[in-house]
């Protein structure tokens, strides 16, 4: 890199301008990082959904229940190998802002259905043995500094009263993206105490033998319960998670729109800055050419300067975004997967370089095409 002092001297010739341009990249890439994190937070359920799992809910609405008796009927449908169920509890721990999902789960099938959640056998057995047993994700336990044996009071909202649970187990996720912010307790405890909807569950999850056979099994399940008082709507777990996200609005469109506008503006700002930077030193570029530096060298010189600004600015923005996410979910539970994954960082750098390339190419080509004689004549 014998030309490095030339490159860096050019970059540092107008420090404020270079700083502001890099700052534009930093701001854009920071925003990109945060938007990616938010998008990821909303879509995480979709990303981690099991390919061989179907979710069966009441056809009217997910808040309408389904009879417990459906479990055995589901298991009789060809292609279904396992079935389990759960119920949304929706209680409040100490303060409404302390949101975390609470599920009353089927103690017989739930663990087998979700092998991505790793639970020590001893803790699982302790959970099964305690009617008021609670199983918490390690993220949740860490958030509230809970440990095994703690007694946790949760105020019911859908199911009134104060519900107390003994923490009997702490599960962890096999993958980083697995949700470890959930609280589980035994469905039979809920069913026993609740004053209504006894013998009903919130939804079923079934495992199918062959994911390629999903369409047929979905149809078979819904046909099985058609014309009953509790008709079903079955979806793959991925589709179910995606429809859940859609209820919050078109997050993807929102993020793409904001991101697109920001990057287009960045393109204009940087392109203009680089054009000014080239115009200001037309004579210098002409002198470089006169002494024997090639047209291609001049092109590469200008492009390298743009790319360095893009990389440094983009790197700062992504680093700030990463730092921001290291503090965890700022919504206190609404976005449990609040982190910037490595592939998003790589994509961020690619975007920064692409914007740098696009904004630098026109000024660089004009510098390359510069006629020495004409440029030297300019004062």
């Amino acid at each position: 890199m014998k030309y490095r002092h030339l490159i860096f001297a050019n970059l540092l010739r107008k420090k404020i301008r270079t700083g502001l341009t890099a700052g534009s990249f930093a701001a854009a890439l920071f925003l990109f990082g945060i938007l990616t994190v938010v998008r990821g937070a909303f879509h995480q359920g979709v990303e981690v959904a099991g390919a061989d799992r179907l979710v069966v809910v009441n056809k009217i609405s997910i808040i309408q229940p389904l009879p417990l008796s459906y479990r055995d009927r589901l298991l009789r449908i060809p292609g279904v190998t396992q079935a389990t169920f759960a119920n949304w509890f929706g209680g409040v721990y100490q303060d409404e802002r302390n949101f975390f999902p609470q599920f009353a789960i089927d103690r017989e099938g739930y663990r087998q259905m979700y092998p991505e959640f790793v639970i020590p056998d001893g803790q699982w057995l302790a959970f099964l043995a305690d009617r008021e047993g609670g199983m918490v994700g390690e993220g949740l336990a860490e958030r509230f500094k809970w440990k095994l044996g703690d007694r946790i009071p949760i105020q019911g909202t859908i199911f009134p009263g104060t519900w107390e649970f003994n923490i009997r187990g702490i599960y962890r996720g096999k993958r980083r993206e697995d949700d470890t912010t959930q609280f589980w307790f035994r469905w039979d405890y809920l069913d026993e105490r609740k004053a209504f909807q006894k013998g009903f569950v919130g939804w079923y999850v079934v495992r199918i033998a062959n994911p390629d056979d999903g369409v047929r099994v979905v149809k078979a399940i819904d046909e099985e319960f058609a014309n009953s008082p509790w008709e079903t709507k079955t979806d793959t777990e991925k589709a179910f998670a995606a429809s859940w996200v859609k209820q919050m609005g078109n997050i993807q469109f929102l993020i793409l729109t904001i991101g697109g506008v920001v990057f287009f503006t960045l393109l204009l700002v940087t392109g203009n800055t680089m054009a000014i930077a080239v115009r200001e030193r037309v004579r210098e570029l002409a002198v470089l050419k006169a002494i024997g530096l090639s047209d291609r060298f001049v092109l590469i010189l200008v492009m390298t300067e743009t790319m360095i600004v893009a990389l440094v600015g983009g790197g700062i923005g992504l680093a700030l975004a990463k730092l921001f996410t290291l503090r965890g979910d700022p919504t206190r539970g609404l976005l449990p997967f609040f982190y910037l994954p490595p592939d998003a960082i790589v994509l961020g750098f690619v975007l920064a370089l692409a914007v740098g390339l696009m904004s630098g190419i026109l000024p660089a080509v004009s510098a390359m095409r510069l006629r020495v004689v004409d440029a030297l004549r300019r004062v």
């Binding site: 002092h5 210098e284 050419k289 002494i291 024997g292 530096l293 047209d295 004689v373 030297l376």
Partner: protein, 241 residues
């Protein structure tokens, strides 16, 4: 020896034959150089004089391979540069031509050392070898002690001396100087002219210089007068005495 009649021999360092340069301006064709012939031997110090618009700078640009003629040929040290592709011409400039400009044209964000080093970056020389060459060039122009100064920290005369160091550092075949003293006071101009004369006398350089200044021209060995794109005469000057 310098000739303008087209009868120079093959051994001339610079041979120009039937050189024409025309420009189009607003639909009108302007003939800047008209069938110009020139032979310059190695080690000469030649000044080109003439009124504005006579074609002096155009001729210098053509000799330096910065522009292409409309007709005619230029051969330098056996290479016919008018037949070269743009890419070859760029490489040829790097090897054979040292430019000295009226406005010095140093890169303001580089030190004197870094400015002088620029032409050497195109060579395969190591850092240590480049350093040696740069220090030698700066010593020749008397600025060894200012190598870490930026152009803004130097006087006009010193800047021009850095410009000359940059022109000679790669040991080019000849130096092309376009009004090298045009922006300097008399004293600084004399210093620069002394330096150019010394490069010819002591280092055997060939210098072709465009100037408006008769005193500057008188330091050359031969003064060539251009009028309306034609070399009208060649006069032995003070530098020959």
């Amino acid at each position: 020896m310098v000739r303008i009649d087209g009868n120079g021999n093959e051994s001339s360092l610079v041979r120009v034959r039937g050189l024409n340069k025309t420009y189009q301006r607003g639909g009108e064709e302007i003939q800047v150089l008209q069938g110009l012939n020139l032979d310059v031997d190695a080690g000469e110090f030649v000044a080109f004089m003439g009124p504005s618009g006579s074609g002096k700078t155009t001729l210098l640009n053509l000799l330096g391979g910065l522009d292409l003629p409309s007709a005619g040929s230029i051969t330098v040290a056996g290479d016919e540069i008018t037949q070269m592709s743009a890419r070859k011409l760029t490489a040829w400039r790097a090897r054979h031509v040292g430019f000295v400009f009226q406005m010095y044209n140093l890169i303001p964000v580089l030190t004197a050392y870094q400015n002088v080093e620029l032409p050497l970056l195109l060579t395969g020389l190591s850092t240590a070898e480049r350093r040696k060459h740069v220090e030698t060039a700066l010593a020749v122009v008397g600025l060894a002690d200012r190598m870490h100064s930026y152009p803004r920290q130097l006087s006009g005369g010193q800047e021009q001396r850095v410009g000359i160091a940059r022109a000679i550092v790669a040991d080019p075949t000849f130096l092309l100087c376009d009004e090298p003293t045009g922006d300097l006071d008399r004293k600084s101009a004399d210093e620069i002219l002394d330096l150019l004369a010394r490069l010819v006398r002591e280092h055997g350089k060939t210098v072709l210089m465009v100037t408006h200044d008769p005193l500057a021209a008188d330091r050359a060995r031969v003064v060539l007068h251009l009028e309306k794109g034609v070399l009208v005469d060649a006069v032995m000057a003070g530098g020959a005495r």
